[in-house]
């Protein structure tokens, strides 16, 4: 048995090393295993301090519990200092330890140069006007009048499109000579409408679905013209302009973005852009334009409609009181 015993001194050293390694490397490694994220969970610096102090207190109690323990702990140190392992070793340790401590003290007191970190709140609500909270997108929820008017127009084959898409549709009409202008929509909603027009009787539900489809088409075109350069054609915040901005354009396919806010909030954000943000959302870094300066309410609502559709997300429902 005696052959396996190690002195209290080495006990203390090994225990400290094990506790340190567990906190420093094992916990982060384990956290990566558990979370399967490509980075470890952060271990706060105070945690290390806390564990090390606890360990040292426990070891101190154990060492000073008996005279034998204290003796077993201090003997190797005494022998080293006395020169039992050679005088050069003793002097080396006597010099190395103070310099190591000095270096550590220097590291602690030297002024650290750190880039100012801006903690940013993504959906600030401190200046969000309440009147937007329950706003509904009039183009994804068309009124009965709008639906009737659209059905009438569809019957006549005289659909009023926004001017931005007219050119492309006209060239298509010239080339394809269709029976009805809406034939370029390869979607079930529009096919159903065209079928009913032929039958002579249009159901309001069919007309509504088709009108939403038409609004969505215009919204997508406006998105491609205005928003795509930054937010990308797959609404992933990765457009051709995106890499130039430190604060990257929002990725709408992310679960934490447009899904977690009400439609009225999106409308308000698109209208007022970066400069309309409160300070906690670092407006000075945001490249989001103040779109109310360039786009009409109608254009912005249609864009928002397309955005949610392309991202396959639905807005949060306003809370009713």
């Amino acid at each position: 048995m005696r052959g396996f015993r190690i002195s209290m001194f080495w006990w203390v050293v090994i225990t400290l090393a094990i506790v340190y390694s567990v906190v420093k490397w094992a916990i982060p490694a384990l956290s990566r295993e558990i979370t399967t994220l490509p980075f470890p969970l952060p271990v706060p610096g105070t945690l290390m301090l806390f564990y090390m102090v606890l360990t040292i207190v426990a070891l101190f109690l154990m060492v000073t519990f008996s005279d034998e323990g204290l003796e077993s702990f201090s003997r190797p140190i005494r022998r080293l200092l006395r020169g039992d392992f050679g005088q050069p070793t003793a002097y080396l340790v006597l010099l190395a330890v103070p310099f190591f401590v000095g270096w550590q003290v220097y590291e602690v007191v030297v002024p650290k140069v750190e880039v100012p970190v801006s903690l940013r709140i993504q959906h600030p609500s401190s200046n969000f006007p309440k009147k937007f909270e329950e706003m509904k997108n009039p183009f994804s929820n068309p009124t009965d009048e709008a639906i009737t008017a659209f059905a009438e127009a569809a019957k006549e084959g005289e659909i009023a499109f926004i001017e931005q898409v007219v050119g492309d549709i006209e060239r298509w009409e010239e080339e394809s000579e269709p029976d009805h202008v809406l034939e370029f929509f390869p979607t079930p909603a529009m096919t159903a409408l065209l079928g009913e027009i032929e039958g002579g009787e249009i159901e309001p539900a069919t007309a509504k679905a088709a009108l939403i489809e038409k609004n969505l088409f215009e919204g997508r075109a406006l998105y491609a013209m205005n928003c795509r350069p930054c937010h990308g054609d797959s609404v992933a915040g990765d457009g051709p302009m995106a890499d130039g901005f430190k604060l990257r354009p929002i990725n709408f396919t992310d679960n934490g973005t447009i899904e977690t806010i009400v439609e009225g909030y999106t409308f308000w954000r698109v209208a007022n852009g970066g400069p309309g943000l409160p300070t906690e959302a670092t407006p000075w870094d945001s490249a989001m334009p103040i779109w109310k300066l360039n786009l009409s309410d109608e254009e912005r609502w249609k864009i928002i409609m397309a955005e949610y559709d392309l991202a396959q997300k639905t807005p949060r429902i306003p809370e009713t009181h």
Partner: protein
């Protein structure tokens, strides 16, 4: 048994000969059959995802198209740029699959692979949309033009020299001999041509790519991709195929050389100001600059306010800075194929028509709205700083600040480079709505020195660290001073707010370490050392009573 062996052999041969141009963006299985139903599915996807750029007719004339350069592809001509087929041939379906999957970097065509982008298209959807896109050009129906059936393919070489100094040097020799530099410039910065005197098949002026910026290489930035570009040529452009002029081996060396020209930008956001004793560098090529740490600043088109611009020429400026304790000097280096040193204010765009609600669009068209030619507008660059010292992270807006948050710009103009202060001018801005307001003549303290060579501007700007003017930024050690850039390439039609812009970075002058820090460290050494030797004395004194054998 023999049959099995044949099948195996065939499989191996297939793998060898159809080695993909790039390991990525290849279909996982065989191409599905393009049935009518399949094409119809593709039509629905095209309508939703592609038509706004490429047009309902596939002619590249969708509503978003006029604002982009390069323009979206016109599918009706059957001319495709990025292929693995011989010059002038149609692309293979796999070529189209690759383009749809990974996009064309540096253009509006983005990746649609749903492994890369959550809302992209599945492999099947990509095949469907390709099946539909093929219907736009009748050439695809002609079996005699099918590059797979006619065998007019270009394969990667079987022997591929490794990417090392030797093959790069050999590639450089090929670059010289094949006269690639006549168009692309000696350093590959697209500065070989004398003017925009050539047009592509669609009538748009040729703007030669700067091959040193990997994120701008449409056909991909890997050696395999580069090899394909000069082996297949780029259809519809003056870029020829070098299959006949150069051997496989030579082309591979050349691809290695082009790869070696690529610049990998730094990612830090802080420009550390180097300290020099005795004399700051005056010229851009002063060897003293070597000691300073570079910071690459990424810029992009100014799309924040009208007139918006999504075809910026300058996307990277490399900065260095130095101080001698009295003055600070910045060096800005960026690629620009032409030195534009004249400015004609009369040709500037009146943006009011595209700036209001109800305007058709607030972006500037790529072609026609502003002249994008030589001798029209000047090249320029500006460093922007907040006028007032910033607290915490709060700053003025990166686009010219605002009413209560003014910014100062040190603007250098190429057309005035021979004049006073080397073309530098200090100006104040309070938001983008007003034009820059130059500071009073006696408050102008920035002096510039500029040089243009081999498709690259180098501009040095110098000013005292501290000034008396309250509109000036003051440089003090130990503070992070926000800094951003504006840049203009005149022959790209850029002037006013039609420019490249960066968001905020920082300038930092290191403060000397205070003496107390050293004092504490020395004290720690002395105390610990003293304690150690005291313990040693105790240990020696203790030893006689101990019995340790």
């Amino acid at each position: 048994m023999a049959r099995l062996a044949n099948i195996l052999l065939f499989g191996v041969a297939l793998m060898l000969f159809t080695a993909p141009a790039s390991a990525k963006s290849v279909p996982s299985g065989p191409k599905p059959e393009f049935t009518e139903d399949f094409i119809e599915q593709g039509r629905a996807i095209y309508f939703q995802r592609c038509s706004f750029c490429h047009g309902l007719l596939g002619d590249g004339e969708g509503p978003a198209a006029p604002y982009m350069d390069p323009r979206p592809r016109d599918f009706t001509l059957g001319t495709f740029k990025f292929r693995t087929t011989q010059s002038g041939e149609l692309p293979t379906d796999d070529d189209l699959f690759r383009t749809v999957s990974r996009g064309l970097p540096g253009t509006g065509m983005q990746a649609f692979d749903n492994d890369l982008i959550k809302n992209g298209l599945t492999e099947e959807q990509r095949w469907q949309v390709i099946a539909y896109v093929r219907t736009f050009a009748q050439e695809f129906d002609n079996e005699e033009l099918d590059p797979v059936k006619t065998g007019k393919l270009v394969a990667l070489p079987k022997e591929r020299a490794p990417f090392n100094a030797d093959s790069i040097a050999k590639g450089k020799a090929v670059f010289e001999r094949a006269k690639c530099w006549e168009c692309h410039g000696k350093e590959g910065r697209g500065n070989g041509q004398k003017a925009f005197d050539r047009k592509d098949d669609w009538g748009f002026p040729i703007r030669i790519r700067n091959v040193t910026l990997p994120w701008k290489l449409k056909g991909g930035a890997e050696v395999e991709d580069i090899y394909m570009r000069f082996s297949t040529g780029i259809n519809g452009t003056p870029m020829p195929s070098f299959v006949k002029a150069l051997s496989e081996e030579e082309r591979w060396y050349l691809a290695n050389f082009i790869k070696s020209l690529q610049h990998q930008p730094t990612s830090h956001q802080v420009l550390k100001v180097g300290r020099v004793e005795g004399g700051l560098p005056e010229a851009a090529n002063d060897p003293a600059w070597d000691a300073a740490e570079p910071m690459d600043v990424r810029l992009t088109g100014q799309v924040v306010v009208a007139p918006r611009w999504q075809n910026p020429s300058i996307e990277l400026v490399t900065m260095k800075a130095m101080t001698d304790g009295t003055d600070i000097v910045f060096r800005l280096v960026w690629d620009d194929p032409f030195a534009d040193t004249t400015h004609d204010e009369e040709q500037e765009l009146d943006a009011s028509e595209i700036s209001a609600v109800g305007a058709f669009n607030s972006y500037v068209e790529g072609d026609g709205m502003v002249p994008r030619k030589l001798e029209t507008f000047r090249d320029a660059v500006a460093i922007q700083f907040p006028t007032k010292p910033t607290t915490g992270t709060a700053k003025p807006h990166f686009l010219r600040g605002g009413g209560s948050n003014p910014v100062q710009l040190w603007r250098w103009k190429a057309d005035e480079a021979d004049g006073e202060r080397g073309g530098a001018e200090e100006a104040v801005a309070r938001g983008w709505r007003q034009a820059l307001k130059p500071q009073a003549e006696d408050k102008q303290q920035v002096a510039a020195k500029a040089a243009w060579a081999d498709g690259r501007w180098s501009v040095v700007m110098k000013r005292p660290l501290a000034t008396e003017d309250r509109n000036d930024v003051q440089f003090t050690a130990g503070n992070f001073i926000p800094m951003s850039l504006n840049a203009w390439d005149g022959s790209n039609g850029e002037h006013g707010l039609i420019m490249s812009v960066s968001t905020w970075h920082y300038v930092f002058i290191e403060a000397p370490i205070p003496m107390t820090v050293y004092l504490w460290a020395v004290l720690a050494v002395l105390v610990t050392g003293g304690l150690g030797f005291w313990l040693r004395r105790k240990a020696v004194a203790y030893s006689p009573q101990e019995n340790e054998a």
